[in-house]
Symmetry: C2
Subunit: 350 residues, 2 copies
């Protein structure tokens, strides 16, 4: 429990500001009164970049580092806009923050709760957490192009995996698995093909497993993991995986658990050396932006993760319980972004 | 139409021999009588490796190259056997063949047909084909480990993408899309993060699209593609993607289309410079091997792809029609591998 929460808010683009508006309301409603709370809005995102040329300056990054946590909505503009090609905002802002703030744990829970429909006919009990590595792997940004634009061009992408980087995220995953009732950890990789990285991941898992004898460990190739995600998702408890595999399977996990509109995530620096960053898994959804249609549930769930990570367990539980109660009562009635926010706030226990 | 089919059969491990047995029966039942047909069995696989030390010798590879096509069951032994660690058989046999025989198209259709249950509550009309690149990308085998076994170890994996390699598979995909009623092609990649490779794939697709004005082209990030696979698979017609993304999404595609037990694939060298290789997408399933329980449908579907690729369209259609009729009539009765083979053969039209 920290008594200070100087929050940075990056509402971002598209539906980001709408969902973040509700998330901040919820946060402010549950935060214990003794906490030294401030919030500062930062304008970053595709819109800011197109207007000012800044994706994220060094000064802005330094300013963000002064905060205790970051709440982010969504960044990204019109995918067809050539000025945004090459993922300039996603990489220059979102990934830059994950790397600069050493968010080596990208935490993505997936759960089916009463009231939520899965696209699966028989989802079973879905309640697992993906611990996605956040600072290396194929996301390291290494690679290049030779003979660009010619018939003999070669493009390479280099996945970088360090013992240091793999070990710390695997250890986090074991700690998490040990705290959960089923105490099960599944390593997801593709070690029969990506043998260098895969061998490292497996060896680190094997080594650390010896320190957690009560955690049951298994392994799945990423391709097989996608099959189980749709045929038997209840087999998963904690999954630990690399940055790219984690990106892929957490979107799939969100989809089977009732939709990307509900999926929360935390980009966590566990030691607290830098602020952690919490964001819905969904994107900026420019097609529905500004219409008050976006579901703020994922953003509000990200607030619960923020509270949990900041040591405010009770407040986190209150948010989660209110979200669950709202989902359970939701039915088929279309509600606006703020109506959902209102309903969740009304359900916060005191 | 070629008048010669000198077939190489690699039944492989686990359930491989069981399913291939039925597949060969079907092939021999439909092959036009004028064809100069021979079949030669090769013993390769994990069992052969453990018994002899050979994964695939140069002589064996040279022998395989003399054939017109290869039918493969499944390779791979007990995943816990340390002698098979590092995917030695998968890489040394399966991937070696794909690379040495320049199987740059890995063709994987996904279709829900009457009688087949999808794990999705509302699958809609699933009928798409994944064209997976087969000879480069992260499968190129480049990479290494520095300071192995120390706390400072670094493992790298290098994805190699060439204009030549991307162009030929993209062109194949456009040709395929143009022959299909919906004429739609979706590029799946992760170009906002893997910018070097992603940019190359997108640029090649854009360039070749100009030659196929009647094909509608779109793009999805691989993470988003997994969402649509479970929420709206009918949006897909032809997907073209890289080797690793193709590996992942085709297992998912098989799962939503009724199971990996039905998914057929072809590793194709379109120019016919080397024999193409046809195999079920499933693995060797050691847990059910030798019990006559394995479903040979995927292997039989692979025979249909083999016939199609060899120019025997009518025979391919007969196999497909018999498989469909059998699936439609299948119900819940458990049948043995050979009973399913019998039933499909009985349904072959004359
Ligand atoms: C926007 C993109 C760079 C990002 C990622 O790939 O990590 C997103 O897909 C996510 O999962 O948070
Ligand atoms: C066995 C393995 C090397 C192979 C692959 O990754 O290509 C398999 O998963 C497949 O999809 O055919």
């Amino acid at each position: 429990m920290t008594d200070r929460l100087h929050l940075a808010i990056i509402a971002g683009d598209g539906i980001g500001p709408e969902v973040i508006g509700q998330a901040v309301r919820v946060l402010e409603a549950v935060l214990p009164s003794g906490v030294d709370y401030t919030s500062t809005e930062y304008p970053f995102g595709a819109g800011h970049y197109l207007a000012t040329g800044e994706v994220l300056s060094d000064e802005s990054l330094a300013a963000l580092k002064q905060h205790d946590a970051i709440l982010l909505g969504a960044v990204g503009g019109d995918p067809a806009d050539p000025r945004l090609a090459g993922g300039i905002v996603e990489r220059g802002l979102l990934l830059k923050l994950r790397f600069a703030l050493d968010h080596y744990v990208n935490l993505r829970p997936a759960e089916i709760v009463p009231g939520v429909a899965s696209p699966l006919a028989q989802p079973g009990d879905v309640d697992f957490v993906v611990v996605r590595e956040g600072t290396e792997g194929p996301y390291a940004g290494n690679g290049g192009v030779l003979r660009d634009g010619t018939p003999h061009a070669i493009a390479t992408e280099v996945s970088v995996n360090t013992e240091y980087g793999v070990e710390r995220v695997v250890r986090f995953a074991f700690e998490l698995a040990q705290r959960r009732p089923r105490k099960k950890l599944t390593l997801v990789h593709k070690k029969n093909v990506l043998v260098f990285a895969g061998f490292m991941w497996q060896r680190v898992v094997d080594r650390i497993a010896a320190e957690y004898p009560d955690v049951v460990v298994d392994y799945l190739h990423v391709d097989a993991a996608t099959i189980f995600m749709v045929t038997d998702p209840s087999r998963f408890d904690v999954i630990v995986t690399d940055n790219l595999f984690g990106d892929i399977i957490t979107d799939l996990a969100a989809a089977i658990a009732g939709g990307i509109g509900l999926a929360a995530s935390g980009n966590i620096n566990p030691a607290g050396e830098f602020p952690s960053m919490f964001e819905p898994v969904h994107g900026s959804a420019p097609d529905i932006a500004g219409q008050g249609k976006a579901d703020p549930t994922a953003a509000i769930g990200s607030v619960a993760l923020l509270l949990e990570q900041s040591g405010h367990r009770d407040a986190a539980d209150r948010v989660r319980a209110a979200v669950r109660a709202d989902l359970d009562a939701r039915g088929d009635v279309a509600r606006s972004t703020s109506e959902i926010g209102d309903a969740i706030i009304a359900r916060l226990s005191t």
